[in-house]
Amino acid sequence: MTDVEATIGGQEEIETVQDFDAIVHKYQDRIFNTVSRLVSNREDALDVTQEVFLKAYKAMRGFRSCASVYTWLYRIAVNTALSHRRTPAHRAASRMLSLSESPDLDERGARREPENPNPGTGKLVARREIQQRVQNAILSLDNELRSVVVLRDIEGLGYAEIAKVLRLPAGTVKSRLHRGRLMLRDKLLDLIGAEGKK
């Protein structure tokens, strides 16, 4: 919980429940998306996202935030997600999911942004398989590499922002990101080749 006890005071004002509602409304998608890529199933992602906002709520009351709210929320999100222990029920659910013939991302990912409206069924299945492979590859990374890769290549944060969120020196962020990408490349080598041929 050290992340929650961290300094607050600054840009966005969080004094009332209304302020907090606004914060939830503004950041829930980003946090949920990040967390979804750090944990292995939708239920865990939901649990963790709730926990993130609950922690934030407890620490925010009566305060004004310091460093930008999203840096702070991302920090709580990453720490909470990486330390999250899956419950037996969730383990069973995810086992069922992984046993299913074609992994359905809806099971994992709730509402999605509108995609290509009419892709051919075969193409759709192929793309989902690719996405599942990529997600699994990310999940197979060590925590320290995974968090940097997700913040950079999924959330699009800059190196300096990542350093702030994870409280790491900039050099460490660079090297972890590069190592993470190289490991992903090795795991996805066949996809990269296939993509390259297109």
Binding site: T7, G9, F32, N33, I130, V134, Y159, R181, L184
Partner: protein
């Protein structure tokens, strides 16, 4: 640059995180070296793959569930606080009674009752702190007004959190004009039309690592200044501002009290600034030339900032049983309107004015007599009925307000 060095930096190159010179070096190497170029392409593809994952939106049940959990946790928290506070109150009562039994003193029954009834919403820590202050005050025959004003449980919680937070140091450093000294003084006087009250305000910012000690000092000043009436005559309100400072707004009612309090608090500030808080016990009496010079300097530094802070239109809390001049009596709309008038005045005017001539004249008139504002007003009214009053004084239907703002910037020295 060899291939190894180049490959180490490919991610940075891709992300545009390299300095221009390094970037161009890498670019020219990649142009010449097919193996580094294909490595770069592979990393680029990897990033594309990761980036192609669909963005997931939070399901609607998230916000719903969150609301439910927050309301539940608040209820549980409140119940726990009630239980803890109740237990603390019982223990306190027992301790106080035991203490009184042992010392054979007269039990301060009213104080005990206060603590017990106050426990409904207070945290145990706040209760203990309040009880401690109240006990002190009771011993010296003072009303526990200041303790009340300072230790409302919510504020106490804030103060505790603020004190614990490592951010306090930074906030203090970022505080404009703080620059390690933390002293700002501003005095301003303004006049908003003939029917409105004069407001003479002085803000004194004190940097302290001993919040309670400083509050105790101020407490004792207030009691010293009006020993015959006690603390109940002071109208005090407080506010925790966004930079983490605690501001006490003390309505002095009379000019004499105002002068005395300003002097005492200024001396306290000076003593804390010279980092000898225990030796420099402020003494009532004439201000040294050095202090005056310090004040002047601080004033010129702080005035611009203080004027910016005018948006704070804090209502002065009226203590029970306190005598309130009619114009100041609880009439929020009227007071707000007046505050708006005051805030609407161009700041330059006030800056130029310092203490307006009218107030200075009045000062000279009153001298060091220390008359209360009420008495002064009565005297004026009598003079009006006797028909022997000057025209200028006829306009003064509304009495002046003398407010000392003591801003306590709590610094964590750990």
């Amino acid at each position: 640059m060899n291939c190894g060095e180049v490959r180490e930096r490919l991610s940075e190159y891709l992300d545009g995180e390299l300095a221009p010179l390094e970037r161009s070096e890498l670019a020219s190497h990649i142009e010449r070296c097919p193996s580094c170029a294909s490595e770069l392409q592979a990393i680029e593809k990897t990033v594309e793959l990761v980036n192609s994952l669909p963005r997931l939106s939070a399901p609607p049940e998230l916000a719903r569930e969150l609301k439910r959990k927050i309301s539940t946790s608040t209820a549980v928290f409140t119940r726990r606080v009630f239980a803890l506070a109740g237990a603390a109150a019982v223990i306190l009562i027992a301790l106080v009674l035991l203490f009184n039994l042992l010392t054979e003193g007269e039990p301060p029954v009213s104080e005990v009752r206060r603590v017990a009834t106050g426990s409904e919403s207070a945290t145990p820590d706040a209760l203990l702190a309040r009880a401690e202050l109240e006990k002190k005050l009771a011993e010296s025959d003072k009303t526990p007004l200041l303790a009340d004003a300072l230790l409302k449980e919510e504020e106490q919680e804030k103060l505790e959190k603020l004190a614990d937070s490592s951010g306090i140091d930074r906030r203090a450093k970022e505080f404009p004009g703080f620059a390690g000294q933390g002293t700002q003084t501003v005095e301003r006087a303004r006049r908003a039309g003939a029917t409105s009250a004069e407001v003479v305000e002085k803000e004194i910012a004190i940097t302290t690592s001993d919040l309670k000690g400083t509050l105790d000092k101020i407490d004792s000043f207030l009691a010293q200044i009006s020993p015959e009436e006690g603390l109940a005559q002071w109208k005090i309100t407080r506010q925790v501002s966004e930079d983490g400072a605690i501001t006490l707004m003390i309505d002095c009612a009379t000019e004499t009290r105002y002068q005395q309090l300003v002097e005492k608090v200024s001396r306290l500030k000076a003593s804390l600034d010279s980092r000898a808080p225990d030796q420099a016990e402020p003494v009532a009496g004439a201000k040294s030339a050095e202090d005056l010079a310090k004040d002047k300097e601080a004033e010129s530094r702080g005035i611009a900032r203080a004027l910016k802070e005018e948006k704070a239109k804090d209502k002065i809390l009226e203590p029970e049983g306190a005598e309130v001049p009619p114009a100041l009596a609880a009439e929020p709309a009227e007071e707000r309107r007046r505050a708006e008038q005051l805030a609407g005045e161009p700041p330059q005017e006030a800056q130029k004015a310092g203490l307006p001539q009218r107030v200075q004249k009045k000062l000279a008139k009153e001298g060091a007599a220390g008359q209360s504002q009420m008495a002064l007003q009565k005297a004026q009214e009598q003079a009006v009925t006797a028909g022997g009053v000057q025209k200028e004084e006829e306009k003064e239907e509304v009495p002046e307000r003398y407010i000392v703002r003591v801003k306590l910037i709590v610094v964590d020295t750990k």
